[in-house]
Symmetry: C2
Subunit: 230 residues, 2 copies
DNA sequence: ACATTCATTTTTGTATACAAAAATGAAACA
DNA sequence: TGTTTCATTTTTGTATACAAAAATGAATGT
C-alpha cells in the first residue's frame, strides 16, 4: 500500500521563503538592509538557486524590494507607506469582521474568547511581547472565522509588511489600555453577531495602532537624525 | 556626465513575468494547464533560471499553483474561489471609491468621464472586447484616484486572477445594460464627491459581475460534463 | 481484458559555471 | 585635502550540469 499519509519534506525554496520571511518580519534583517546572496547562502547552507527563487517570492509579497542589477533590500516603509498599508489592513479587517459575525461558529467564538483572556493576562503583567502575540492571533482568528481564503491570504500578505514595524515597541500606557477596551468591544460584537459594530471597532482599533506606529517611526527617525548631526 | 536618463533594459525574469502573466490572464494558458518548463523555455527563448524565478513570482501573486516535484499549473478557480475573490475585490473597490471621492482631481475626473463615453460607444456597437477594456480602465482609474499605492497593488494582484474568467464571454444583454447604468451612477457619485454612493454602486456592480461570471462558469461546467458523458 | 511491475524516459529541483554589471580602492591629478 | 580615473574585486544575472523524483509504457501475470 502506498503511504498516503507521509508528507514529503517541503522543497528547499519553500523552507527558505519561510525562514527569510521570519527574519524580515522579526526585524533580524533590518528594514533597508541589503540581502547579500553569498552571505545568505552560507548562513542558510543552500545554493543560490533556491535562495533567489525565495527572494522573488518575497518580493511579490512586498517584503523585499528588487533593485535591478543591484540585488534586493528589505522594504523600508515610509510614513506614508505605513499609512496606506494601515488603510488597506483596516479595510480588509472590517470586511473580515462583517463576515465573521455572520459565519463564526460557537467553537470558534469560544476559542477566541479564551485567547482574549490569555491576552488580558499578558496585559495585566505588562508583557508586551506576549500581548502582541495573542493580539495577532485574535485578529487572525477573526479573519479565519470569515471563511474566505482569498481574504485571509490577502490580509496575511499585506499585514506581513507591518509586522516588522510593530515588533519592537514601547507603548503609550493609555493607548494600550484603550486597545484592550477595543478588544472587549470586539468580543461583545462577535458574541452578538453584530457585524457593523465589529467592523466599526476594528477600524477605530487600527487607527489607534496606526497612530502608535507612526509615533514610533517619528521617534526613531528623530534619534537617527540626532546621531547624524552628532 | 552620467546619462541619468537612459533606462537599462528590464531584467529577463521581469520580462518573463509580464509575458507569462499576459498568457495566463488572457487564457492562452488555460486554467488548470500544466506549465512545462522545457516547452516554455523554448517558446520564450530563455533558460530555466529566469523562467523558474518568474513562476515563483506568479505563484506568489496567485496566478499559478505550485505542485511540489510536479511543477506548476495555471490556477483553476472553483465557483467558491470566484465568489471569495469577488468579495475581496468588492471590498477593495468600495474603499477605492470612498477614497477617490475625497481625493480625485478635476483632471482625473475629466479623463474618467472621457473613458466612460468611449465605453458607451463600445456598448452601443455591442463590441464586448472593447467594452471590457474600457471598463477595466475606468475601474483602474478610480482606484488610482484613491492615491493609495498599497491599495492599487493589492487590487491589481487580486483582480488579475479574475481576468482570465472575464475575458471570453457572451453577456446577458439585460445585465450588460444594467452594468452600463451602474457606470452612469458611478460617474454621478464621483462628480458629486459622494463616497458612500460610489462605494454602494461599486459593490452592487460587482455583485452583478459576479453573477454573470458564475453563470458562465456553470454553463462551461455543464458543457464539459456533457462532453464527458458523450 | 485488466492490473501490476519495473526499466526507461521525462521533468523537476538544486548546484555550479560563466558573463556582465556594479562596487571598491589605489594611483594620479588639481 | 579632495576628486577623478581605471584596474581589480565583488556581486548579480543567466545558462548549464547534475541529481532526484515522477511519468511513461512495455512486459508479465492473473
Amino acid at each position: 500500500m502506498d503511504d498516503l499519509l507521509t508528507i514529503p519534506p517541503p522543497l528547499l525554496h519553500q523552507q527558505v521563503v519561510t525562514r527569510l520571511r521570519n527574519l524580515l518580519v522579526q526585524g533580524e534583517i533590518a528594514p533597508g538592509a541589503k540581502l547579500n546572496e553569498r552571505a545568505l547562502c552560507e548562513q542558510l547552507a543552500i545554493s543560490r538557486t533556491p535562495l533567489r527563487e525565495a527572494i522573488k517570492t518575497l518580493a511579490a509579497e512586498g517584503l523585499i524590494v528588487l533593485l535591478p542589477n543591484r540585488g534586493a533590500i528589505a522594504v523600508m516603509l515610509t510614513e506614508q507607506d505605513a499609512r496606506d498599508t494601515f488603510d488597506v489592513i483596516a479595510t480588509l479587517e472590517a470586511r473580515s469582521g462583517a463576515l465573521a459575525a455572520q459565519r463564526i461558529t460557537e467553537a470558534e467564538l469560544v476559542e477566541i474568547r479564551a485567547l482574549h483572556y490569555e491576552m488580558l493576562a499578558h496585559h495585566a503583567r505588562r508583557n508586551l511581547q506576549g500581548y502582541y502575540h495573542l493580539n495577532a492571533l485574535i485578529h487572525e482568528r477573526i479573519n479565519l472565522a470569515a471563511k474566505n481564503p482569498v481574504l485571509t491570504q490577502t490580509y496575511r500578505a499585506v499585514n506581513a509588511r507591518l509586522q516588522a514595524l510593530r515588533f519592537r515597541s514601547n507603548v503609550d500606557e493609555e493607548k494600550w489600555d484603550s486597545a484592550v477596551r477595543d478588544h472587549e468591544e470586539m468580543l461583545r460584537a462577535l458574541t452578538a453577531r453584530d457585524g457593523d459594530a465589529l467592523s466599526a471597532v476594528l477600524i477605530s482599533h487600527l487607527e489607534t495602532k496606526r497612530d502608535v506606529v507612526l509615533a514610533q517611526m517619528r521617534a526613531i527617525e528623530t534619534v537617527e537624525e540626532e546621531n547624524h548631526g552628532a
